[in-house]
């Protein structure tokens, strides 16, 4: 055994080094370049992060990432354990049976003004895995609609209609109710009101 190791050390070392170098170039360099060039031409928008811009062209966020909303005139996303930090994402990692989740949920229930007659949809009471979940359920959006309509001084039916329009574009095939992209919906409400 020892003899085999000794005898073959030089050729093994040489082969390993050369093959390592070749595969580094291939797997770390060439392969990503192939994917990158395809993305550059085929899907330039999503390849750079699905960024959304205002009319002046400034980046306001990403269609795929939640951002913080606290004003009553905006729809609010799901709670985030990382305060919607898109440069350091993460979940709460708390036990769903633990006291910390309960305390947080009590606060959230109070923030949303939910009670037993109008219970809070569960997605609004739970922190997402990434802390950046861009969606809320249709129920969670409709739940917030009265607050948004009141704050903006527009008809509840208009807000509801906007919600349903957004939900219709985000249906997963087995569910009757779609999801609502919070940032996209808020941007639309802003544009409509500015007109």
């Amino acid at each position: 055994m020892k003899k085999t190791i000794m005898k073959d050390t030089a050729p093994n070392l040489a082969a390993s080094l050369r093959i390592a170098l070749a595969t580094i170039v291939l797997c770390g360099g060439l392969y990503p370049l192939i994917i990158l060039s395809f993305a550059h031409f085929a899907t330039p928008e999503t390849a750079s992060g699905s960024l959304l811009r205002d009319r002046a062209g400034n980046v306001v966020g990403s269609r795929l990432l939640a951002q913080a909303f606290t004003r009553p005139g905006y729809f609010w996303p799901r709670p985030s354990a990382v305060k919607y930090n898109a440069a350091g994402a993460g979940g709460s990692n708390l036990s769903p049976a633990g006291p910390e989740v309960r305390e947080r949920a009590e606060q959230t229930v109070a923030d949303f003004g939910a009670d037993s007659r109008r219970p809070l949809p569960a997605d609004l009471a739970t922190a997402s895995g990434s802390g950046l979940d861009p969606f809320i359920t249709l129920k969670a959006a409709l739940f917030q609609a009265p607050r948004v309509a009141r704050a903006r001084g527009i008809a509840l039916s208009d807000v509801d209609a906007a919600i349903r329009r957004h939900a219709d574009t985000q249906k997963i095939f087995w569910s009757r109710e779609g999801l609502v992209n919070v940032l996209a919906l808020n941007m639309e409400l802003d544009t409509v009101q500015k007109k």
């Binding site: 082969a15 390993s16 750079s48 699905s50 909303f69 440069a87 633990g98």
Partner: protein, 556 residues
């Protein structure tokens, strides 16, 4: 509906594994000319004379260890120098020494336990040239070693050439599949750019820094190569790694695909397809069982909400809405059956009893397992099963027409015991000292499970975690780094030594008294060995961790 989901997520990789297994067998066949195109001639020149040599199992293992040592060294160097290397648009600084050791060990061993957060700590150079590279060659190392094991069991004392096997797996199996999956992910909306982070001014006027990068390339191979190490901290829960239901489906079926195909490859190389089918069905049964249990347990609502005015729904803590209900439970089961370890929900926030499902997968570590190494682990259980049967009928046990004797059994038992030893000793030490007890997020039994999960994940080369654990400390980095290395190389070296020793024996003719290894009865034997041995070894910690967690939080 959950049954339909399960069918959707598991049937496609099962179907695809058959043709892929056939293809992999052709690629790995030492006598085939299929790999002799221009590319491989070029690589043959790169590899030198060493590639033309047919090796015995010892020489094969030595080459494997040499190459893995070079992998380790190269990555340590790249990570240590990342602040001066190119492709670092966000100016990531140098990494701490114990974190470099842990990360190198983690990616060399195909584990991808990440004690760092990708978007916080890693430059694009490190992500691609260090980590993505290792995701290819560590997976290829596993496939190569299984091919060698199969050739030995087919009766060959010359088991192939490690460098040739490794290169062929990288070039003709992993790269083409990764390109297909990465392109699909790009179409599905996954970012792929060398631009650095961008600053956004949100609608309410706050600033949000949006980290991005060459994500699609890394995600494809981390799913296919049972690596699991993501571009971003929260892995495939992050909308940039996994933007939709469809990308989630593609990523989830990529997890077990190659591991399933390696079972067929083993069957073809040894010429025992019916035996392979028996083993495949045992693995599949366990996978379905595991996913079904997870689906059922995870559909229960978050226990903490009891009595609050919150609508009753399945547990959504740590989950993303766009993947749809149930998909997180299936993913959690699949990613820990194979040693992938990527996640699409936070395992720490699974319901207390659900946490037992990923743990059980890592403890057994044979439900398809890591690419190549999963079947190598199963080989040990097969040897033990054959031995028990032999004892029951009073014959010298045989496997693949070779006698299994004292020498082989000693090695097999050693291989079998390494895994629980690493997990139980590590957990005991860390749970009883501030090394572990001072780093948990959740209290009590759930906190104990965080420690137990970390060592299980490291020893099984899985890489997922109960991420509440503050694991980027020197004790954690060093301990899990060592556990990953031991948990990777001992269970490759010992089985190959067993197979090599068997190959050197005279074949025994198969008679009417020979134990048939291609019957449903043998499936029951294997299922029994796996479950009984697994249950006996890990039952006590299962009760101390998830079961106690469930009882203390859910019974009032």
């Amino acid at each position: 509906m959950p049954i339909l989901m399960l069918l959707l997520f598991i049937s496609l990789p099962v179907l695809l594994s058959w043709p892929l297994g056939l293809f992999m067998t052709k690629v790995m066949d030492p006598s085939s000319k299929s790999g002799d195109g221009r590319v491989s001639i070029l690589l043959r020149k790169t590899g030198g004379r060493m590639l033309d040599r047919e090796q015995e199992w010892k020489g094969y293992l030595i080459s494997m260890l040499f190459f893995n040592a070079i992998m380790f060294g190269a990555v340590v160097l790249m990570l240590a120098l990342q602040h001066v290397l190119p492709l670092n648009p966000d100016g990531k600084g140098p990494l701490e020494a114990s974190l470099i050791f842990n990360t190198a060990a983690s990616f060399v061993t195909n584990t991808n336990l990440q004690h760092y957060s990708g978007e916080v700590s890693m430059s694009y150079f490190s992500q691609l040239f260090a980590l993505t590279w290792l995701q290819f060659v560590s997976a290829a190392t596993g496939i190569a070693c299984l091919a060698a094991l199969a050739r030995a069991l087919a009766g060959n004392t010359l088991v192939g050439n490690f460098y040739r096997d490794m290169l062929r797996s990288t070039l003709f199996i992993l790269l083409p599949l990764s390109i297909v999956v990465a392109l699909l992910l790009v179409v599905g909306g996954v970012p792929m750019t060398f631009e650095g982070a961008t600053a956004a001014q949100t609608l309410e006027g706050a600033m949000q820094t949006i980290a991005r990068g060459p994500v699609a390339a890394m995600v494809a191979i981390k799913q296919l190569g049972t690596n699991g190490g993501g571009f971003f901290g929260p892995n495939s829960t992050h909308p940039f790694e996994n933007p939709s239901f469809l990308t989630n489906y593609i990523e989830c079926i990529s997890i077990p695909l190659i591991a399933m195909a390696t079972v067929w490859m083993f069957g073809r190389i040894t010429g025992r397809m019916r035996h392979a089918a028996v083993i495949f069905s045992v693995m599949l049964l366990l996978l379905i069982l595991k996913s079904g249990i997870a689906l059922n347990l995870e559909s229960a609502p978050s226990m903490a909400f009891r009595g609050l005015p919150i609508e009753t729904m399945s547990n959504l803590e740590g989950k993303e809405l766009r993947f749809g209900p149930g998909t997180a439970a299936i993913w959690a089961a699949v990613t820990t059956a194979t040693s992938n370890g990527s996640v699409n929900c936070m395992h720490d926030s699974l319901n207390p009893l659900t946490g037992l499902v990923p743990l059980a997968g890592m403890w057994l570590n044979v439900i398809f397992g890591g690419v190549g190494v999963g079947f190598i682990n199963m080989f040990i259980f097969i040897i033990v099963g054959v031995f028990i049967c032999g004892m029951m009928v009073g014959r010298t046990p045989e496997y693949c027409a070779r006698k299994v004797e004292t020498h082989e059994m000693k090695l097999a038992l050693l291989a079998l015991l390494v895994h629980p030893l690493l997990i139980l000793v590590g957990t005991a030490v860390f749970a009883s000292t501030s090394w572990g007890a001072g780093t948990v997020l959740n209290k009590g039994a759930h906190g104990f499970t965080e420690i137990l999960y970390e060592f299980s994940s490291a020893a099984a080369n899985n890489g997922s975690g109960f991420e509440g654990l503050g694991d980027n400390t020197v004790p954690w980095n060093v301990a899990t780094g060592l556990v990953m290395l031991l948990g990777r190389f001992i269970p490759i070296i010992l089985p190959l030594a067993i197979a090599g020793s068997m190959a050197a024996k005279k074949p025994v003719p198969e008679t009417i008294g020979t134990l048939r290894i291609d019957t449903p009865l043998f499936a029951v034997v294997i299922l029994g060995s796996v479950l009984l041995i697994g249950a006996l070894l890990f039952m006590p910690v299962a009760v101390l961790g998830p079961v106690a967690d469930y009882l203390s939080t859910s019974i009032h």
